[in-house]
């Protein structure tokens, strides 16, 4: 049903990392940041980013608040919580372990 996802289960890691560097981004900004920082390689699917943000909020990793921007429009911005920082570390080391394992497999002749 869901569209092919180019992120291969790393969406949480990317969102957490982005929010740790740039707190206070809203949903669309997070999506654009993923695209920009990966030089257009990675694309978060709109349909999966929103539920993911809500899931992480419910899990207590990130917190959301509504702010009114200068233009007068309301936006829901996100920032990292303490539990999210821990989660980020765990996710990052997991990612490192997985990629190095995959690399080892690829290099084995």
């Amino acid at each position: 049903m869901s569209k092919p996802d180019s992120l291969q289960g790393s969406l949480d890691l990317l969102v957490l990392r982005i929010l740790s560097r740039r707190p206070g981004l809203h949903g669309y900004a997070i999506m654009s940041t993923i695209k920009d920082w990966s030089s257009d390689v990675l694309r978060a699917d709109e349909g999966s980013l929103c539920p993911a943000l809500h899931r992480m909020e419910e899990a207590g990793w990130i917190r959301a608040k509504w702010v009114t921007k200068d233009s007068g429009r309301r936006a829901r911005i996100y920032e990292l919580r303490a539990a999210g920082k821990e989660r980020l570390d765990a996710e990052e080391s997991r990612w490192q372990a997985v990629t190095s394992a995959v690399n080892r497999v690829l290099r084995t002749v």
């Binding site: 949903g27 669309y28 349909g47 929103c50 899990a59």
Partner: protein, 883 residues
């Protein structure tokens, strides 16, 4: 935290949805702002609804949310059909309320453990006699004090034994003699409180040392309940004294809250040490006045303790038999057949339990049957409604609802019904349970049952509500969920199987209804037979003044008081006796005629003054009434049962008999009058002797107690009660009145249980018939509604009205028949269990079977009438055009 916040989100899901929507809209707007093509951006985003649902699902507990929305939806459904829902809820509430009420009573009387530290280790010593003439085994639980001591010593290392006297309503005063008041007194072993692990609310409790030497420590413990009622929890009550008989007692403590003695159904007010009982009674081996409770020590088993007690009891029996003189061989054999048993007494032990245990159980089962009948109605209603909603259900399945979701939808609706019914039923039980306890009360001895509405009752109601929900909800729910969307949406598939299930339900309902009617008929007949048997005297307008003398007074003093009462306006006649007729008190003795050995059958003895027979309206058959000059001995008046028993039914006037070597001449012969309180036994042989008793030297014996029997001119004798009460002390302060009861009140008290049973059973029977009739009406009406097209066609091609009516009702009536036959079988099987509650009526009596059958037949015919009329009145033209 996460689960709680997700649970909380269930109840603010609307706001959550709005927020998610807004965020999603913002998102798309941002994308467009960034220069994306609006249509493309929306397309890339996918379905807004699905996005929202997915986001929402992670924010809340999904199953709870579905439950919530089902609850809201089915609440609306119920509100749409206020009348049917109301009727269903009310009939369920009646059933649930009756069941809860029965449970409260059974729990309070039989199940609830005493508030002692180890109720499960508590046993009561019970003796089982040999089978009597009627084949029934009689049991008793009374012991003498020496017997208790022997038994206690025998099992000392395995169990602690506690002696408790029967709770008695006695007179005591905290001030002057004129201010006598009633209180329930129990003599208990001093170590009872300690071994039960009870703590004082105030002061100290009795100890072993208060209970060593007879008459040494006149101390008393109040129950917390009495302390609250009588003294408003005044802490200065410690050290106060009260007088009871000739003894002065000092209050030394108040027992733990909640402990009201060991006699369930009576709230003991005052606990006294065993040793304060009259020394003669304490030493007597023949005065059986206490119960023995045995508390096993940790780790001890009941069997070895019982075996040891049995051995001790055999020794006691042998010792007692030595003092028996002139007892027949058969009686002696029976005496040695008596067997000691240990019965669990964790919830106390009382006569109320014995007398009302089975009664309440029978009522509970009747209530349960009524509840099932009500459930069947609701089940049929739900089935019919599920059928009407087949299209809605099919639509739900078609757009992806799971079967379970449909089951849940119907069950939630049933749960609403059950919940509302439980709430109303709980309220009903709240007042009906105390109401029934109030009806148990004989006027002189009010039963007081602690009826807390605590977690036990709440848990029972909740379990009942759940059970009921599944009982009537599961079948319709399964059926509704099994809907086939294609055929249902196409319309027109005739659900015949549904009708079959409903008809099976009708058979079930009818059979239960029959059982309720049958049992109610038996109980009502029992009550009728008991109350319509002749008692041999006229209880109307009679009031009994039971009096005690501080010190025994000579007969002439009692006569003076009687004379004063005769002078009161409104008084017709006054006579003296020892206790009122049918009060439950009796004295008896063996009779010997013409020097023959003493009889095995005993005769009752009652002392009466001249004019008593006339006052009670007991007619003389031969001879004369006593005169003022007659004394006891040597004259007596006997009744017909006496003549039958000892004189082969001949007129005994003028003859002689002997009682304990004292000779009596029979000067009068009277008709039978009921003297004892057991209405199920025949009237006993009774010898009346003069109130004025002389000893062997011919001197008058002073009297300690007596009862003034007053026949008033007014229809309501109680109106004179206070005047009469105040008249007694005017003759001098030696005698005071302890109790005033009308004779009607005393007579009625002996059929209290039967009246209660008959009344409630009749009430349940009426409800059962009503519910069953409504159920049958509903099913038939629904059947006609379903088949209206078919009936229309039949009518159009010339069917007769009679044929149609027969067709519509034939199947249902065969079900009624099946149900009735099943009911007869069930009823016959159940009679065994209520046999002890019946009197002179058998389950096999034809009348007992015919009346319920006719009632059900009449109710069924009445219930079928509207459906038949509706079927016959169907207009074929209109019906066929409509489709």
């Amino acid at each position: 935290m996460s689960f709680w916040s997700r649970t909380a989100n269930v109840f603010r899901s609307d706001r959550l949805s709005r927020e998610i929507d807004e965020e999603l809209q913002r998102h798309i707007a941002d994308a467009i702002e960034q220069g994306r093509d609006p249509a493309e951006a929306r397309r890339a985003f996918g379905s807004v609804l699905r996005n929202r649902e997915e986001s929402l699902d992670v924010r809340l507990v999904a199953w709870l949310d579905s439950l919530r929305s089902d609850a809201v939806f089915s609440w609306r459904q119920l509100m749409n059909r206020k009348v049917t829902s109301g009727a269903a809820i009310l009939s369920l509430a009646l059933g649930i309320g009756a069941c809860t009420s029965a449970f409260r009573l059974i729990d309070a009387l039989l199940l609830r453990p005493l508030p002692v530290s180890h109720p499960e280790r508590l046993y009561s010593v019970v003796f089982e006699g040999a089978a009597g003439a009627d084949g029934r085994v009689s049991t008793y639980d009374s012991c003498s004090y020496p017997m208790f001591r022997q038994m206690r010593a025998a099992v000392k290392d395995q169990a602690e034994s506690v002696a408790v006297s029967y709770a008695e309503r006695i007179d005591l005063t905290y001030g002057r003699d004129e201010e006598m008041e009633k209180a329930y007194r129990q003599f208990v072993s001093g170590w009872m409180f300690d071994s039960f692990g009870l703590r004082p609310s105030l002061g100290r409790l009795l100890t072993e040392y208060d209970d060593v030497t007879p008459d040494a420590y006149p101390v008393a413990i109040l129950s917390h309940d009495y302390w609250t009622r009588r003294f408003a929890q005044d802490r200065n009550v410690i050290g106060r004294t009260f007088r009871m008989g000739d003894d002065l007692y000092q209050i030394i403590g108040v027992a733990e809250e909640g402990f009201t003695g060991t006699e369930t159904g009576t709230v003991t007010d005052v606990f006294l040490p065993m040793m304060m009982k009259n020394p003669r009674t304490l030493a007597s081996t023949t005065n059986f006045w206490l119960r023995t409770l045995v508390e096993l020590k940790p780790g001890a088993a009941a069997e070895p303790v019982r075996e040891r007690l049995r051995a001790t009891f055999r020794g006691i029996q042998q010792e007692r038999a030595k003092s028996f003189i002139g007892m027949s061989k058969r009686r002696l054999e029976q005496f040695f057949q008596e067997k000691l048993l240990l019965e669990p007494a964790g919830s106390g032990r009382s006569n109320l339990q014995r007398d009302y245990g089975r009664t309440l159980l029978a009522l509970g089962i009747l209530a349960m049957l009524v509840l099932v009948i009500a459930c069947v109605n609701v089940a049929n209603l739900m089935t019919a409604q599920a059928a009407a909603r087949a299209r809605e259900m099919a639509l739900r399945v078609a757009i992806g609802a799971g079967r379970w979701r449909l089951v849940q939808l119907v069950l939630v609706e049933c749960a609403w019904l059950a919940l509302l019914a439980t709430a109303i039923g709980g309220w009903f039980a709240l007042w009906s349970a105390p109401f029934i306890v109030g009806m148990i009360n004989p006027p002189d001895n009010p039963a007081r049952l602690m009826l807390p509405a605590d977690w036990r009752v709440a848990a029972f109601s909740l379990a009942l509500a759940c059970g009921v929900t599944f009982l009537f909800g599961l079948a319709p729910a399964m059926r509704a969920s099994a809907v086939r969307p294609v055929s249902a949406l196409k319309g027109g598939s005739a659900p015949h199987s549904r009708g079959r299930m409903m008809r099976t339900m009708i058979a079930l309902q009818v059979s239960f209804c029959f059982v309720v009617l049958f049992v109610a008929g038996l109980l009502a007949t029992t009550f009728d037979r008991l109350t319509s048997q002749p008692i041999g005297f006229s209880p109307e307008r009679i009031i009994n003044l039971e009096a005690l003398a501080q010190r025994p007074q000579p007969p002439v003093y009692w006569d003076q008081v009687a004379d004063r009462l005769r002078a009161v306006p409104g008084v017709e006649k006054v006579a003296l006796t020892v206790w009122p007729l049918m009060s439950g008190e009796a004295a008896n003795g063996a009779i010997s005629v013409n020097g023959a050995p003493a009889s095995e059958v005993l005769s009752d003895f009652l002392r009466i003054s001249p004019g008593w027979l006339d006052t009670m309206r007991i007619p003389l058959i031969d001879g004369r009434d006593f005169s003022a000059a007659d004394t006891n001995p040597p004259v007596a008046i006997v009744n017909q049962a006496f003549a039958r028993q000892f004189f082969n039914g001949e007129n005994p006037a003028g003859k002689w008999f002997e009682n304990e070597h004292v000779r009596f001449q029979i000067v009068g012969f009277v008709r039978d009058a009921r003297s004892r309180d057991d209405m199920r036994r025949p009237i006993r042989a009774t010898a009346y002797v003069p109130f004025n008793t002389v000893d062997s030297r011919g001197a008058f014996v002073p009297m300690g107690r007596g009862t003034f029997v007053v026949r008033t001119r007014t229809a309501n004798p109680m109106a004179l009660a206070s005047i009469l009460r105040h008249e007694v002390p005017r003759a001098g302060s030696a005698i005071y009145i302890t109790n005033i009861r009308t004779q009607v009140e005393i007579s009625l008290a002996h059929t209290v249980r039967e009246r209660l049973l008959a009344m409630l059973a009749m009430f349940f029977a009426a409800v059962a018939v009503l519910l069953a009739a409504i159920g049958l009406y509903g099913v038939l009406d629904y059947g006609v509604l379903q088949r209206r097209r078919e009936i229309g066609i039949r009518l159009a091609i010339g069917a007769q009205a009679g044929d149609i009516a027969r067709q519509v009702t034939a199947e249902a009536f065969s079900m009624v028949l099946v149900g009735a036959i099943a009911g007869i079988v069930l009823g016959m099987a159940s009679v065994r269990y209520i046999e002890t509650l019946l009197y002179e009526v058998k389950g096999t009596d034809m009348g007992m079977l015919i009346v319920p059958s006719l009632t059900i037949l009449a109710a069924a015919s009445l219930a079928a009438l509207p459906a038949m009329i509706r079927a016959v009145r169907i207009d074929p033209v209109k019906m066929l055009r409509a489709d």
